[in-house]
């Protein structure tokens, strides 16, 4: 019975937390882009404009819900749901801290420690493309269809290097469980470096971060919604909260991918050279591990905004060329070298 209650609290907590961060991210993105363009950004709704996402939410919820006459009604309504649902559920297997000991009971700060955690995240990440394609197809609008088809073409060019770069990580750690991978990143590597994944997989991390941007449909890979080419891409015909789900799901995806980057390559909740569990109490250690993990994730969330205003959008054929001619060979070489190193050292 107790386990049920704890599991429920964890699920509710991580849901609200993810949604809160995604909501805040829309504000960070707008203020951040304003900062880079020498503007101020939204600053009238609440202190520093912090209530801007709330105002947007209220507006989107109370707006007229339009389904175009020529659209495919079922697919049109299914699109945003299929996009947002995998995004909301992908965080379940990613840890958000180490563990908390309350009344002698150990609570792991992760909703589910699945032994195929990797595959779950990759599978749900690939599911999101159905939402885009079905929404684009169901809208019965030429720009939407172009956006949806671009999304599929993009998927087949980035999903393979994405999977291959993750496979190299699995070779290094010998497990699919994200919690076990986080646990072994304690200590030092080669005597002086933190024992983080990035030092064992430098090339793998670059491949992963490039493909993660494509996975989240972020600039420079935002081809499905390239607004200067195809109006608003797959969500041209969407207004009100249906559009809200698409926009919101993107930020939730960003949060999941940023957390995955931290878990795999940046030592999850471990600080470099310092073992927090040695000098912190059980409860404060749990909270500290959560905060360290979140701060690292926040950096990668900021990196998403940073890159958006630094790199221009790739052309359609350039993405395919990059995926097939550069990323996949590099990912294969990375996998081969990793396998060779492991074979020689073990």
């Amino acid at each position: 019975m107790d386990n049920w209650v704890i599991a429920l609290i964890k699920v509710v907590f991580i849901w609200t937390w993810t949604l809160l961060i995604a909501t805040l991210m829309t504000w960070v993105e707008r203020r951040g882009s304003a900062m880079m363009q020498d503007r101020l950004g939204p600053n009238r709704a609440g202190p520093f404009g912090l209530f801007q996402p709330l105002a947007d939410g209220i507006k989107l919820f109370t707006k007229e819900d339009i389904i175009p006459e020529k659209a495919h009604k079922i697919l049109f309504s299914l699109g945003p749901i299929l996009f947002a649902l995998p995004a909301f559920s992908a965080y379940a297997v990613i840890p958000f801290g180490d563990k908390l000991i309350v009344n002698g009971k150990e609570i792991i700060l992760q909703v589910a420690d699945v032994n195929v955690g990797f595959l779950y995240v990759v599978a749900l990440g690939a599911m999101a493309v159905y939402g885009i394609v079905l929404g684009g197809w169901g809208s019965n609008n030429k720009y939407s269809i172009l956006g949806g088809l671009r999304s599929t073409a993009q998927l087949i060019s980035y999903e393979v290097p994405f999977g291959l770069s993750l496979l190299a990580v699995v070779l290094v750690y010998g497990t699919f469980s994200l919690r076990e991978i986080s646990l072994v990143q304690q200590g030092t590597f080669l005597g002086f470096l933190p024992n983080w994944g990035i030092f064992k997989q430098p090339l793998g991390f670059i491949l992963f971060i490039v493909t993660a941007y494509a996975e989240a449909n972020r600039v420079p890979f935002d081809l499905p919604e390239a607004e200067s080419e195809i109006v608003a891409g797959y969500h041209t015909e969407y207004g009100s909260m249906r559009l809200g789900l698409y926009l919101f799901g993107e930020y939730v995806n960003m949060y999941t991918l940023a957390a995955l980057m931290v878990t795999l390559y940046f030592g999850a909740w471990h600080l470099p050279y310092i073992d927090m569990s040695k000098f912190l109490g059980p409860v404060s250690y749990g909270i500290a591990s959560f905060l360290v993990f979140f701060l690292k994730t926040a950096f990668f969330l900021w990196l998403f905004v940073w890159v958006r205003w630094t790199v221009p959008r790739f052309r359609y054929d350039q993405v395919m060329g990059l995926g097939w001619k550069a990323l996949i060979p590099l990912a294969l070489v990375n996998l081969f070298i990793t396998a060779l190193c492991i074979q020689l050292t073990v």
């Binding site: 020498d38 101020l40 950004g41 608003a232 559009l243």
Partner: protein
């Protein structure tokens, strides 16, 4: 006791209306419809140093489904009239229109066979901005006026009255 007279909208309804009005007035996403030189001033108002985004009027969307405020900036020729009407019809309720510049308001200096003399007989206009073209401050002032107008709206009361058969 019997039936009591309907004296007013009540606390809950007015508070909900205030919240909705606050949300709508703080997030008027514009649909930029620049057809002439006023469009340049509109872009200037969106860019640095004027920055319309401060008021939440960000994310200019070129899809009418996603926009709230149609900023009609520039001359409307007779050939453009059906396009403008269609764009307006494609927008989702609630929607507002700002007519920017003398041409959009009255046809301006183009008193010719080809120019439509003011857009107000094609679509309902909420705020007019005079000027040829108006400065970005003019557009910002119009946006603030529009926000005041949204604040005075009664989004729920209309529906309640309709439901009661009024």
């Amino acid at each position: 006791m019997g039936l009591q007279a309907y004296t007013g909208p009540g606390w809950l309804l007015t508070k909900a209306e205030q919240l909705i009005n606050w949300g709508r007035s703080r997030s008027p996403w514009p649909l930029p419809y620049g057809t002439a030189c006023c469009g340049i001033e509109m872009m200037c108002a969106l860019a640095a140093s004027y920055d319309m985004a401060r008021f939440g009027a960000e994310r200019p969307s070129f899809s009418p489904r996603q926009a709230d405020v149609l900023i009609e900036a520039g001359t409307i020729t007779k050939k453009m009239v059906p396009v403008l009407r269609r764009i307006y019809d494609q927008m989702a309720e609630p929607k507002w229109v700002i007519a920017m510049g003398a041409c959009a308001c009255t046809g301006g200096v183009f008193r010719t066979y080809s120019t439509h003399q003011g857009i107000s007989d094609v679509i309902p206009v909420d705020v007019y901005i005079p000027g040829c073209p108006p400065r970005p401050e003019g557009l910002l002032y119009a946006l603030l006026k529009l926000m005041d107008k949204i604040q005075k709206d009664h989004p729920l009361r209309k529906q309640v009255v309709e439901a009661l058969g009024g």
